[in-house]
């Protein structure tokens, strides 16, 4: 975890949400930019922006679990799938309103998180990874083969929905919903990270036995972080289902779980900003790759069947690159640039 706050002398200073005035100003400007985005962005760009927002919500959840609490999970996509399918089933069978669906998706996913968390309390590291991976594969299998409930490969279509009389078929209105929820998720995570609970999470990550000796209730905090993480994953999955208007088992595969872990590695482990950066980076990456390889594959027909292979290779190379050369991720790069300019033109 990168050191982000220098010169804090009191706890009050350390617990501020914004580390400095300039951070407050730049964040406000950023939010204003996002609010104004639908005014000049096209439909496609808005869709991509919504996907970034959804990935942000979900990756912040994974960051609570893996980045802060140190519980490694390769099953994040399974929780997203549970959230998404909850929405599809409640929305289509019971015609519940959007707001209720959203909460329900989170709650059902966090119940699933609880179910995974309780047996996982005794597991650590590698064993936990393999258990969550097993959970991911089982969920994938059930979604694919429980045809009477999930319609198998065809998936479930999700029809138009509305929120407070707003028709959310429109991309820009979808974007606003995602934006509000993403900002809420960010504030929530930041707040959680800076509270006693968040510090307890970090203590569990850094050394669980030492944390227990200081008086952190291990079981309670591990379960709490699992629940928080899967709640946010459920919300993310729910929004994903709404934006795509159809949910199929192929959306939330093991690959997606790996991608989410890659996001927190690329962005920077255990930091909120890092999570957001990683989510945006990994969501925009396929779009960039499409921009580069789209024309190439139309020029060379041989390429078109190899696109998947190239994409997957680039993903792997990015993961390897960040782990080998930039273990603190994009956030680490950002902090380094900032620290370089702080005393400029002096060396230090």
């Amino acid at each position: 975890m990168a050191v982000t706050r220098y010169c804090t002398r009191t706890y009050l200073q350390d617990q501020r949400i914004f580390p400095s005035h300039s951070a407050k100003i730049s964040l406000t400007l950023f939010v204003i930019f996002l609010v104004l985005l639908p005014a000049f962005a096209g439909q496609y760009l808005l869709l991509v922006a919504s996907l970034c927002g959804i990935a942000t919500i979900s990756v912040l959840g994974l960051n609570i679990l893996t980045g802060y609490t140190g519980q490694l999970s390769l099953g994040h996509a399974a929780f997203m799938a549970i959230g998404g399918y909850t929405v599809a089933l409640t929305g289509e069978h019971f015609h519940l309103p959007f707001e209720l669906n959203l909460i329900l998706a989170g709650v059902v996913a966090s119940i699933a998180g609880l179910v995974v968390a309780i047996p996982s309390l005794r597991l650590k590291g590698l064993y936990l990874i393999i258990t969550t991976m097993a959970f991911q594969f089982i969920v994938e299998y059930v979604l694919l083969h429980w045809e009477s409930l999930t319609e198998g490969e065809r998936g479930i279509p999700i029809h138009a929905y509305s929120l407070f009389q707003l028709n959310l078929d429109d991309r820009s209105q979808q974007f606003y919903v995602v934006l509000v929820l993403a900002i809420a998720a960010t504030i929530l995570t930041k707040n959680l990270a800076m509270s006693r609970t968040g510090r307890a999470f970090v203590a569990v990550r850094d050394h669980d036995i030492a944390a227990e000796i200081i008086g952190v209730n291990l079981a309670k905090h591990k379960i709490m972080s699992f629940i928080a993480s899967s709640f946010m994953a459920g919300i993310g999955g729910c929004l994903y289902a709404y934006v795509y208007q159809r949910i199929t088992p192929e959306i939330f595969t093991f690959m997606v779980s790996i991608e989410y872990v890659a996001m927190i590695i690329v962005g920077g482990m255990g930091t909120v900003v890092g999570g957001i950066l990683g989510a945006c980076f990994m969501t925009l990456l396929p779009q960039f790759l499409g921009l580069i390889f789209g024309p190439l594959s139309s020029a060379y027909p041989f390429m078109s069947s190899r696109l998947g292979a190239i994409n997957i290779m680039i993903y792997g190379m990015i993961i390897i690159f960040f782990l080998l050369f930039e273990p603190e991720g994009l956030f680490g790069i950002w902090i380094r640039i900032k620290n370089y300019w702080k005393p400029w033109p002096f060396k230090y």
Binding site: T66, L72, I129, F137, I265, S305, I312, M313, L323
Partner: protein, 307 residues
């Protein structure tokens, strides 16, 4: 149970052993690397897949010049060698800098490696199914009246021989002793004059060889190759968990148990639940149950930690 059902069960168990032998080879690859370097290699399935594709390339090239058996044998050897080489290169370039890093970083780097290998294989050979030449007859052999496909018998026999060779290697050879010493304590082994770096590379090379052998037999059993084959690597993970991370015999037994369970589940449970191939997730269900009862694997020992 009448005679027919007994035969059916015997067939299921022997076929299960054949699948289990492949799992055991994969698990052996995992455990050899984990024991020597403390690195858990998620790319083992991809290494196996590379071995299978290499063997296909070689046997396709050689089958015109030599007989099919000779071509297959030569392809087998060349593929084992190249796969071992590839695994060593991966170790030296990508994995070695990660020594002593947190578990998640190590796992993610091997997953990244897996992506690169899978993408590379798919880029060269394409995502389509490719036929795999094999010298085995399609007609099943009858053992005590139980029909067994020839390839499955060869799989079991070759795997057992390979496992025996490695068992003797670890037990009696100088290098094997060095590997066991490194596994026990890397620093002490280093101080005793063992070339720890070479041991690391060697463990990956061994994993490459067993991976290639597993891949070739898997390809022969299935009859064709797709990049999706690498998922077998993940399905073999529960074998390692069953056997305990640091026990070679455990991994082999775990692999065999897993193969048999999977095959029997496919025969006896699948018809009752309907839809889908229950074999795909049997191993994951087993691992969940084992993890709940014994968090350190069936034969694994509890690690003692210091604060």
């Amino acid at each position: 149970m009448d005679a027919m059902q007994v035969k059916f069960l015997a067939m299921g168990i022997i076929n299960g052993f054949a699948v289990g032998a492949i799992y055991a080879l994969l698990a052996l690859g995992f455990v050899v690397i984990f024991k020597a370097t403390d690195i858990f290699n998620f790319a083992q399935g991809e290494i196996m897949m590379f071995g299978a594709y290499m063997a296909m390339l070689m046997s396709n090239a050689l089958v015109g010049k030599l007989g099919i058996v000779a071509a297959f044998t030569l392809a087998f050897l060349i593929s084992s060698f190249t796969t071992a080489l590839l695994a060593s290169i991966c170790e030296m370039t990508v994995v070695r800098p990660m020594l002593g890093k947190p578990v998640l970083s190590i796992i993610m780097i091997t997953l990244g490696l897996a992506f690169v290998l899978r993408g590379g294989v798919e880029f060269i050979w394409g995502p389509e199914e490719l036929p795999f030449y094999k010298p085995f007859r399609d007609a099943p052999l009858l053992v005590q009246g139980v029909p067994i496909a020839e390839v499955r018998l060869y799989t079991i026999v070759t795997s057992l021989i390979l496992m025996g060779v490695f068992f003797l290697f670890f037990k009696y050879s100088n290098k094997g002793l060095g590997m066991r010493a490194t596994a026990e304590d890397q620093e002490t082994a280093f101080l005793m004059g063992i070339n720890v770096k070479r041991i690391f590379t060697m463990s990956w090379a061994i994993a490459g060889i067993v991976g290639a052998v597993g891949g070739i037999f898997l390809g022969s059993t299935v009859g064709n190759l797709v990049p999706y084959l690498s998922h077998m690597g993940l399905r073999a993970l529960p074998a390692v968990i069953l056997g305990g991370m640091n026990s070679i015999t455990g991994a082999i037994i775990g692999g065999l148990i897993l193969g048999v369970c999977e095959n029997l589940a496919g025969t006896y449970i699948a018809p009752h639940i309907g839809g889908g191939d229950i074999k795909e997730i049997t191993s994951y269900v087993i691992v969940l149950v084992v993890m709940m009862i014994r968090p350190h694997g069936l034969f694994g020992t509890k690690e003692i930690e210091r604060v």
